[in-house]
Amino acid sequence: MRSGLDYSERREFIGEYQGYDPDTPVEGYYRGYLARGGHPVGIHIWYGAPLDPLTGEEMDRGWRWQATANGALIDLERVWPRFADNRIDQPEHDHLCCVQRWAETHAPDSPQANPTRPIDLMRAPVTL
């Protein structure tokens, strides 16, 4: 039987909105993943002057919301609000960046050096 409600009638929303606003990120550090089943990377989101993609210096341009994944610039839409729940502190973020830098030099085939690839559990190094 059809409900007697008139759906065109506007009503007051009772309660609070849960979740994050996709247009208003929250500055901070987060743990994110660049591939499903991949190694975690450190995400940094902030509002500031854009960085020069070659030198990394701040440019004299309009401030905007920006994000990096292990130090590399990444589109904000890829990481916010997707990883908004995985907040971490700066030391943890710096550690994730260092791990990838070290792995690129010393273990180029390891999952840590390739966060955009899913981890192959049959070939990943066993570290106990």
Partner: protein, 264 residues
């Protein structure tokens, strides 16, 4: 097959099953396991990976930090993936055998099913006949018991008459019994006859007493049944299903929670 020489034993009639093409193959269980091991060896580094996981797992020490706990969790995941890979190879080899088993059973069942129907039909006829035989036997038994009861009463009456005669002659009952040598009243009990039929090929068709039961009230059952290990096992399963479903209070059951480690 006769031979030209009378003292030579005839050639054996049963053919040797191994004297055929492929008769020197090893048994199926050996063949299938050998093929399975070959397939495992072909999987890139699977056996070496398992050896590595086993060695490192056995050497693992105490878990003393979150980072180590994370690594241990990763190890559990890696071991699960390796075990799954072995299982996939096993399934590849097992599937054709399973399919063949099912086809064989299906074919055999298809052959036996009409036979089972025919046997059931004959059994139904037999049941009707045997029920009629039991009814006739019961009727005969009833008549025999009637006759026995009548004979007993007649004998008792005669005995009493003789005792009364002795009384009339002035003798006591005991003296009369001793003098007359009256025998104890014995009447042959009629034997319970069970109908039985024999076939020409040795089959015997008879009746068998089968006791059946129905539980009228579970609460009145004795402890020997209610506390039997099988009963408790069944109750455990039912209660576990209810507790998993969210029940937290069940009369006669203590429910509590424990923390266990899971790795996802």
């Amino acid at each position: 097959m006769s031979t030209a020489f009378a003292d030579v034993k005839p050639f054996p009639g049963q053919p040797n099953p191994r004297a055929a093409i492929g008769g020197n193959k090893p048994p199926l269980e050996d063949t299938i396991v050998a093929e399975f091991m070959e397939s495992l060896a072909e999987e890139d580094g699977l056996l070496a990976r398992i050896d590595e996981l086993v060695a490192k797992g056995r050497a693992a020490g105490a878990c003393d930090s979150e980072e180590r706990a994370g690594r241990y969790g990763d190890f559990v995941k890696m071991a699960g993936v390796a075990a799954k890979a072995v299982e996939q190879v096993r399934e590849r080899h097992n599937r054709p055998i399973l399919t063949a088993q099912r086809a064989l059973k299906g074919r055999a069942d298809a052959i036996v099913a009409p036979l089972t129907d025919a046997v059931n039909h004959v059994r139904r006829q037999l049941d009707v006949f045997m029920a009629e035989q039991r009814r006739i036997a019961a009727e005969r038994q009833r008549q025999a018991e009637e006759q026995a009861r009548a004979a007993r009463e007649a004998a008792e009456a005669e005995r009493q008459r003789q005792i009364d005669e002795a009384h009339a002659n002035g003798e006591s009952a005991f003296e009369a019994i001793e003098e007359l040598g009256l025998p104890a009243i014995e009447v042959k009990q009629p034997e319970i006859e069970k109908p039985a039929v024999r076939g020409d090929y040795g089959s015997r068709v008879g009746s068998q007493t089968v006791w059946k039961h129905e539980i009228v009230s579970v609460r009145q059952l004795p402890d020997a049944i209610l506390k039997h290990p099988k009963t408790v096992e069944t109750l455990d399963k039912l209660i576990a299903a209810q507790v998993r479903g969210g029940a937290r209070e069940i009369k006669g059951v203590r429910i509590w929670d424990e923390q266990t480690t899971i790795v996802r």
